[in-house]
């Protein structure tokens, strides 16, 4: 840590750290070196407000987060026990006023997170030196603020933050496009020549219709035409990473480009944490409960441990507790693979009593959950492992808003509906899918976004404000096509006023 120095852990905590770390390693957890720091509530709240990085760039929203955490803490509504940073070495902050048992539990929990950060595939592309990187970002932005004024830079950051979720969360793992070469003049030349009719094979008259069948020729001509249209389109394929598109194509000043890229980098860094909330917390809870109940607890600790543990896993009717769902799913998977309750034979079995007592003694549970924590994210985790039995056992239901009663009501207890609702919330982090369709709309350099409509409308007031912020980045009018009240609609902002244009029914 560059700016803040904290004292090492007191002897009694250092001792249990060594113990807990030993237990964690014995279970096969694999983590970066973990540094614990003991800090006071207001420091912890401040660091939590900064997303875990005390050296982050200055921005009012961190102040707002802090205000909320601090007031919540002062009035006894909430308390942060611990904070873990995905970094190498892993930093973990502990609240000084936690009781001794709590510290044990929290340490065990932290090692679960550290293991997850290091081994889960979705974190594999994140910067493990983010602590340094964030400090670097902070310095750069502070320098711009000194040079161009706090208000100017802050306003620009606000605009960037408005589109920070318009990134392509899968792009670190796949190659979407060939890197466009700016110096490839040949290709354009070639294309011009090839724009004519589709290639014909040389043939004699009586063989013409066989060697060059008209149908194939027509199809080829279509394809060529399509290709041509595509080539003139910019970008050729819709781009999910709106931030990158803006970064590469908007007329921004160098410092603005830098700020935008900082916001984008941080968004990519935090994305996997949003993608694996249930798994990450479930995994950490699984390990704190395993380590504590098998090794860590002493007789005097039991009541406090139980109190804290059950508080963490408490569920509420309106919000699924990720800790609870995660730990239960991991336990369920472990149990199923221990008893061999998987595969075709088990799935095809119709005999209820046989299924209930199914136990092949496979004993693969532990191995399976380690595999699951390596390759899955929340979306695939739920898709793959949420079962009908699990839903029943844990009394899951889907709920919706009933305008007649101005209340949220239980909608259904049917497994497919619950699963669908959950998957919907997890798809793209529960946010609308938006991509750039045209960066030169109407041939006037306007930005045209497209919302891939999946049955849920955009919140229009927010959409208008977001467009205004996007306009600040793009510098030319911006549009987004979406569906409102069953009608295809284009929302536009041209720097002066908002426009809403209806353009026809949705084609199913």
């Amino acid at each position: 840590m560059a700016t803040a120095t904290f004292e090492p852990l007191p002897a009694n905590l250092a001792e249990i750290q060594v113990k807990i770390e030993g237990h964690a390693r014995d279970y096969g957890l694999d983590f970066y070196p973990t540094i614990f720091e003991l800090i006071d509530a207001d420091q912890l709240n401040a660091i939590a407000a900064y997303g875990g990085f005390p050296t982050r760039y200055p921005h009012w929203r961190f102040g707002m987060e802090f205000e909320q955490l601090n007031k919540g803490y002062t009035y006894g509504l909430q308390k942060i026990y611990e904070l873990v940073i995905n970094n190498n070495p892993c930093y973990a902050y502990l609240m000084r006023c936690n009781s001794f048992v709590d510290q044990k539990l929290v340490m065990a929990h932290v090692y679960g997170h550290c293991d997850f950060f290091k081994n889960n595939y979705w974190f594999s592309q994140t910067n493990r030196k983010m602590m340094d990187e964030m400090a670097n970002h902070g310095n750069r932005i502070r320098r711009y603020m000194d040079r161009f004024g706090v208000d100017t830079v802050e306003t620009f950051i606000d605009a960037c933050l408005s589109v920070e979720d318009l990134i392509d969360i899968h792009s670190p793992f796949v190659k979407r496009f060939d890197q466009p070469s700016r110096y490839d003049f040949e290709r354009a030349h070639d294309e011009e020549e090839s724009t004519g009719a589709p290639g014909r094979f040389h043939s004699k008259d009586y063989m013409e219709s066989f060697i060059n069948p008209p149908r194939v020729l027509a199809a080829e001509a279509d394809k060529l035409r399509e290709q041509q249209v595509k080539n003139t389109r910019f970008p050729p394929e819709p781009v999910r990473d709106v931030m990158l598109f803006v970064l590469e194509n908007a007329p921004l000043k160098p410092w603005q480009l830098d700020v935008l890229s900082i916001v984008r980098d941080e968004a990519y860094y935090f994305a996997p944490q949003g993608q694996t909330k249930i798994m990450n917390e479930g995994w950490a809870s699984y390990w704190h409960s395993t380590i504590m109940t098998r090794q860590g607890l002493e007789a005097a600790d039991v009541v406090n441990y139980c109190d804290h543990h059950s508080g963490t896993l408490a569920s509420s009717p309106t919000k699924l507790n990720p800790y609870k769902v995660g730990i239960e799913l991991f336990r369920d998977i472990e149990d199923r693979w221990n008893k061999g309750r998987f595969g075709k034979e088990y799935d095809d079995c119709d005999d209820w009593s046989k299924k209930r007592d199914w136990d092949t003694g496979a004993g693969l549970g532990r191995q399976k959950i380690f595999e699951v924590r390596k390759i899955h994210n929340d979306l695939t985790f739920i898709d793959e492992f949420l079962t009908l039995d699990f839903c029943r056992q844990h009394k899951l239901f889907s709920f919706g808003y009933n305008p007649a009663n101005d209340a949220y009501e239980i909608e259904s207890r049917e497994f497919p509906k619950i699963k669908q609702q959950l998957l919907f919330q997890l798809t793209n982090l529960g946010r609308p899918m938006i991509s750039v369709r045209d960066g030169n709309y109407k041939n006037r350099g306007e930005l045209f976004l497209e919302h891939t409509f999946g049955g849920v409308e955009l919140k229009t007031s927010y959409a208008h404000d977001t467009l205004a912020n996007l306009y600040a980045l793009w510098g030319r009018p911006v549009h987004i096509e979406t569906v409102l009240d069953g009608t295809r609609t284009i929302l536009s902002f041209d720097g002066g006023e908002h426009q809403t244009e209806k353009c026809g029914e949705v084609d199913e």
Binding site: F62, Q68, Y75, T318, K395, L396, F397, F399
Partner: protein
């Protein structure tokens, strides 16, 4: 820590000092929710960075617990917004805290930067109080100040060289005695009265009464923090006016026309009868949709200027926007600019209550 800088920046934005375009995102939500006797819950202001987000019909989610389909599980938020998705950030629900009324008044004063009220005419309403603040050489034995007495005795013995350090015996004599004594201090005992007047004619809807209720609650809270004894009186009127209790004030639904002068008449009588202006700080708050009967305006203004304004600290007129009313009454009060004791404000919706409070109380009259 750095966070303090960010925090003060956030607070400045919330108060609209800097980056004023952001202020519209400040969500105040429901300003009050009375809980218990002296506790209220207040939401902490939040600023949202706009994003593309799902709107109304995206609300819903998965929960856990008992209940049949159709069982309500929670109250809907007003308007858009909704339960957070399991995978994304926790739902951005307003954080509510419970605070006592005194704290609330302090927060209100700080948030709105209200000046502390100068009680009116302290000379008239002072009360004498005794404070034991000085020392005298004579007095009743019950008030004797032992420590001082012995100090004096010791001093006398040392100066007269009768003090023997080996045998330290201090014996006070008559002249050494010191007594506590009192001074008369004048403590201002400010009395304040609030008189609320509300138009309950047919054109005032429940929503508008809710606005009045909210505004009245905050006015109450602030004034109560400023004065010890606070009397409240309520007057409702349509074409005729009467004094009512608090309960009735907020819950009546009358109908009929509007004659503001009738309320002014009752108000003036009330002041004369119960609150002699020499002893009372009087605050009048009137809420109406401003849809007064045309020929009544003249009489109203006459009453206001001659029989009410000279006696009160502050007369505030809040005009609630109404779907029916013409709202012209506020225009006939345009002499408010020259009259520091008359303040007018238009309240379009609930959000505007905030601004209205600032207007009303910001004068510190």
């Amino acid at each position: 820590m750095r966070i303090e800088h960010d925090l003060s920046r956030f607070k400045q934005i919330v108060r609209g000092k800097i980056r004023q375009n952001l202020r519209k995102y400040v969500t105040n939500g429901e300003m009050i929710g009375r809980k218990g006797r002296d506790l209220v819950s207040i939401p902490i202001p939040q600023l949202d960075v706009p994003h593309f987000r799902y709107g109304k019909n995206g609300n819903g989610g998965v929960g856990q617990g008992d209940g049949e389909p159709g069982t309500p599980i929670g109250k809907g938020d007003d308007g858009e917004g909704g339960a957070g998705g399991a995978g994304s950030d926790p739902g951005r629900h307003l954080l509510e805290v419970e605070v006592s009324l005194e704290e609330l008044a302090a927060i209100l004063g700080e948030e709105l930067e209200l000046p502390r009220i100068e009680p009116k005419g302290t000379a008239n309403i002072e009360q004498e109080k005794s404070r034991y603040t000085s020392i005298r050489r004579s007095g009743p034995e019950s008030l004797r100040h032992f420590k001082r007495t012995y100090m004096e005795a010791l001093r006398r013995q040392i100066s007269s060289n009768t003090y023997v350090p080996d045998r330290p015996r201090v014996v006070p004599i008559r002249e050494d005695r010191r007594y506590r004594a009192w001074n008369e201090v004048n403590l201002p005992e400010a009395n304040a009265a609030i008189i609320y007047m509300m138009d309950v004619s047919g054109s005032m809807t429940d929503d508008q009464k809710e606005i009045v209720r909210t505004a009245a609650f905050w006015l109450d809270t602030w004034l109560r923090s400023q004065y010890k004894g606070l009397e409240r009186r309520y007057i409702i009127h349509d074409a005729a006016a009467k004094e009512v209790d608090e309960e009735t004030f907020y819950h009546t639904r009358e109908s009929g026309g509007t004659r503001i002068s009738s309320a002014y008449r009752v108000c003036a009588e009330l002041i004369n009868r119960t609150f002699p202006p020499s002893e009372w700080n009087i605050y009048c708050f009137q809420f109406s949709d401003g849809d007064n009967w045309g020929e009544d305006n003249e009489r109203s203004l006459d009453l206001l200027k001659n029989e009410i304004l000279p006696h009160v600290n502050l007369f505030c007129y809040g005009q609630v926007e109404s779907p029916y009313g013409s709202g012209e009454f506020i225009r006939s009060l345009d002499f408010a600019e020259d009259e520091p004791r008359l303040v007018t404000a238009e309240i379009e919706n609930k959000e505007a209550v905030y601004a209205c409070l600032k207007t009303f109380l910001g004068t510190g009259a």
